[in-house]
Point group: D5
Chain length 147, copies 10
Amino acid sequence: MDRPTVTAKILDAKVRKGLKWSAIADKLGHSKEWTTAACLGQMTFSKAQAEVAQGLFDLTDEEAAWLQIVPYKGSLPGAVPTDPLIYRWYEIVSVYGTTIKELIHEEFGDGIMSAIDFSMDITRSPDPKGDRVNVVLSGKFLPYKTY
Amino acid sequence: MDRPTVTAKILDAKVRKGLKWSAIADKLGHSKEWTTAACLGQMTFSKAQAEVAQGLFDLTDEEAAWLQIVPYKGSLPGAVPTDPLIYRWYEIVSVYGTTIKELIHEEFGDGIMSAIDFSMDITRSPDPKGDRVNVVLSGKFLPYKTY
Amino acid sequence: MDRPTVTAKILDAKVRKGLKWSAIADKLGHSKEWTTAACLGQMTFSKAQAEVAQGLFDLTDEEAAWLQIVPYKGSLPGAVPTDPLIYRWYEIVSVYGTTIKELIHEEFGDGIMSAIDFSMDITRSPDPKGDRVNVVLSGKFLPYKTY
Amino acid sequence: MDRPTVTAKILDAKVRKGLKWSAIADKLGHSKEWTTAACLGQMTFSKAQAEVAQGLFDLTDEEAAWLQIVPYKGSLPGAVPTDPLIYRWYEIVSVYGTTIKELIHEEFGDGIMSAIDFSMDITRSPDPKGDRVNVVLSGKFLPYKTY
Amino acid sequence: MDRPTVTAKILDAKVRKGLKWSAIADKLGHSKEWTTAACLGQMTFSKAQAEVAQGLFDLTDEEAAWLQIVPYKGSLPGAVPTDPLIYRWYEIVSVYGTTIKELIHEEFGDGIMSAIDFSMDITRSPDPKGDRVNVVLSGKFLPYKTY
Amino acid sequence: MDRPTVTAKILDAKVRKGLKWSAIADKLGHSKEWTTAACLGQMTFSKAQAEVAQGLFDLTDEEAAWLQIVPYKGSLPGAVPTDPLIYRWYEIVSVYGTTIKELIHEEFGDGIMSAIDFSMDITRSPDPKGDRVNVVLSGKFLPYKTY
Amino acid sequence: MDRPTVTAKILDAKVRKGLKWSAIADKLGHSKEWTTAACLGQMTFSKAQAEVAQGLFDLTDEEAAWLQIVPYKGSLPGAVPTDPLIYRWYEIVSVYGTTIKELIHEEFGDGIMSAIDFSMDITRSPDPKGDRVNVVLSGKFLPYKTY
Amino acid sequence: MDRPTVTAKILDAKVRKGLKWSAIADKLGHSKEWTTAACLGQMTFSKAQAEVAQGLFDLTDEEAAWLQIVPYKGSLPGAVPTDPLIYRWYEIVSVYGTTIKELIHEEFGDGIMSAIDFSMDITRSPDPKGDRVNVVLSGKFLPYKTY
Amino acid sequence: MDRPTVTAKILDAKVRKGLKWSAIADKLGHSKEWTTAACLGQMTFSKAQAEVAQGLFDLTDEEAAWLQIVPYKGSLPGAVPTDPLIYRWYEIVSVYGTTIKELIHEEFGDGIMSAIDFSMDITRSPDPKGDRVNVVLSGKFLPYKTY
Amino acid sequence: MDRPTVTAKILDAKVRKGLKWSAIADKLGHSKEWTTAACLGQMTFSKAQAEVAQGLFDLTDEEAAWLQIVPYKGSLPGAVPTDPLIYRWYEIVSVYGTTIKELIHEEFGDGIMSAIDFSMDITRSPDPKGDRVNVVLSGKFLPYKTY
């Protein structure tokens, strides 16, 4: 057994039971973003969280134990994603990558925006010309140290 | 002559003159995000915008003409960026890519968040535990059509 | 269970029953292009469409449920397709890619031809020197916005 | 000297003189699609065509001679194009590649659609919801032979 | 079931029964080159050919049906083959590729040698210094069209 | 100076002087296949051959000396060639590679067809349905030894 | 001008003047590890540091200005380094990567060791069986947050 | 059976029994670093060590035998690791690789730091600003020989 | 069934029975180098050799038949081997490749050292500073022919 | 200036002066293998050795200084060499890599053959069936340590 096997079982149960990520997030008491990433095998469950998941997805004790093991992260097959929705994000990094770098350095100096001390919020924004997806990313700035 | 040559000349002038992206953006009358991407060779200048840039960066007429040609976009050398700041964004796509996909589909159905009808806003958010980089991405949802 | 498993089962049933894509499309009430892409795991079925497919291909309820989940798209193994028919399309993009880019920009300005708000129509055109494959691609033009 | 050098000089002259591909095509007496591909270094000029190009782009005799040499074709840097407009075409091949294969085989049997005995026509189609890019591809069907 | 599964079964039967490709070709009434490629999953069988193969390799009806489906072609794992015999062919393309291009263009003008309207003949040529492999490749020349 | 520089100079002279490979081969007294490969930087010239080339292409003594240095061989940029004519040869290796392997092994046992003790002959074969390119490859069979 | 050009000039001056990294570090008042990385184009100089470097390496004012621009980081050509000394480090990551992951997670839980809030110290440790290279890496632990 | 199968079984048993690497290391009488690497399939067990592991993880005799076979080493899928913790190490090699090379050569001359005659020690270092991961790497210096 | 399956079975039997390659080689009457390569799926067995192997490794008749089929050669997963022992050989080719090329050409002229008409001998050479691995490679020189 | 520039100058001088590697090695007082690798930019010269090279190849003082800087090693462009002579060595690693691994481990246990404490000797061995290239590689065995 490994974590990808448990992830596949979770997805299987979700489709079979017709669950929604937002409802699962409510049950777990966390944001839908963290919850979905966790169920997709990218985050580590606490014991309590794993028990909730066990109930929701009919997992065995061993499967629930695997949810509490830190997973090997990275959800995409291959360096460049083929799925059009995910590719658009890759394209944003490709087209705007140097722009993001310039502007963060101009404001903060040399360092990075953390992808660990990080949160994301995805919302729908109504628009007469077509609704929009709004995504807020928040990451702690970590400065390079001189030593 | 080609666009990368003009981009290099712009960067050279920016360093030599000690200009800031936010000040350049004010001169051009656009957001700092669009402005920086444009100066880095990812967006197309209108005639009026190119004239402002020509003045700011001491460009020749031919160089200003190249700013108005739609560039071959993509600002990164290689499929996986090595620069730590840009890599963190690649990592966000890698770790959260399937999560973003699931949540947008749950809210909107099958389709994508546009990277063309798109804007970005990067701000600093003070935080006693360390200031944060906040980035808001806004893209129109485009549904797949059945035909 | 996952979508590729259902796709494989659909292909298996199609061969076993000797079905044609055009006949399947008639049953689903859509174009043969959308229908084939959907059956090959690239598009999302509505509930009604999934029920028709379930009948045609002897799918279980769970398999029919998976047809209604947005799939991870991309139908080719590897960045450069080895199959000669598909490679010719890759070659067209390779040889004519910059040409297409120049001509769309000359007509429309900076932006893209959408691959989402998109349709395709493949027909046979009789020709005494050898019949021709005619393909019409139609995609909405999406302009880059200045902000 | 080599063909890419001549291509760069042509692009340079085109920007400097503010020429349009459609006007260049009229001068050469061919479609804008063939003409653009030829000027971008993908097609071979006849002597007469090269003389017209020589006049339009102020080429030397040696540069005009290179236009008549069959070029090493392929206009993109890298296997997966980063430019969003060209990527959308790569995405169409990725998402619809197996669909195109199935439908051409269903109609014609085993073989390919030629990318050599081939023509392309790009037009604008007005649409109240946003104008569309229409592209017609026409390629001779070439059957695999049994021997 | 898919074509690679049938190919594996054919190879299994060939080894178990000690068959030779030339004998199989005689049974099918075609060249040993086409026959071998077809059995290795690269060509499409007619109904009659599939029935002969069914008898030779003890295939089920469903397996025989798959032989009549146009396969996804390409017989090598990876872009550069590791097997020494096949690598030598890759090396010939690498070392002589530009030579072949120059000489075909010198004789025929711009165009290609078809790999579809194509046949191959492999023979042994006795030689006191060591027998030689002689391979004759014949492909129709297809000229690029100006349009 | 290096060999690619000399190759570029040879190509430059060939275009400028309007030479043909077959005429160059006659001057050198070898086949057009070996001659072209040698001029394209894949083969090593003898002193006498280099002197003929020096005269034909107006080379300096140092350039002629470089023709006699064994070159780093391989004429293609990238593992998979983008040029359609050369790609068709790559495709032949991809589609027929395992077939060639099987048939040579069936006739000769384990070993390879040499790409070193090797010659090639490219000819035009008139055909009412379209002239054909015929290529004869001849390579010594080299058996694997048991030791 | 760009940062790699300044880096090349610094290396050139270092060889010409016979400088040592440890001596350069003393002049800059920082560790030899940070100093070397900075001179090799991986770190950002303050104004004061750039002035010291300007004196040491005979840089122009513009070159000194570029030292204060945050560089695009990543010092290796290619994903897998070919240099044996650097490869051994890649090998350590390859062989011990999962071990490091397991042990940090066992001690700290889910999170990472920062490569930004990070320092390194390289020393020689005498050993009768052959002196050893001792490297101490120190990085802040950054925990994944649940939100 | 092969070593990866035994590694998977060990991980399975570790999760099921809730074992810690440090406790396993105590049982084996070695450092937690060597022990973890060995259990993860990167090191070779002696007969005595394999017997301890057999008891701890309920292995069969054959599985214990495989632990004593030298494994094919390398623990990561792909050239660039996607897991954030392991990637940070890759990033250290990428950003500091040339720095490490320069400083070891300055101290020792030409040669490498061995990754074979090598040990690693990972410890937690309390820090009011956030605890740190300290890693000490020790490798024998091996000089290149002139011969 | 295929050759890799038989190779896995051979390795399994070797571990289970505690056999040594040198002892297996004695049974087969060949060098330990050829024997090991053959058992690892890189060489072709004669009927007599296959019968010996059948007895040694408890193979079925069908498995023994597969040993007599010429295998698809190449024993490494990926272009750059991750295993440290094998990587050192890759490193020798990388660091010394151009040296080997220069010296063989200086002695023999243009051509190659055969990897087919080839043998290898690996021995231990005692050395007070640490025993050495001595490997003798012997390959027939094959000259390029002018034609 | 950098080392590759000096290497190119050395090769240029060698061709111009018609020097042989064996004669250069005699002048330097080392083996032809080490000498060639050093001149090709893979080894580090001592001051005395650099002075000899300076005289032989007409180098400037600065060029001679660069010979004494440890180079970034690796002499091949790309992961898989295209040159046939060098490829044969890559093929030996590919076909025999696992064999070499097995036999060294059987004789020495877990560890590697050093590519640093290493020497090579290339000789011609007359043979009536065609002279052979004999290469002796000698590397110290380095055992993995348990800690």
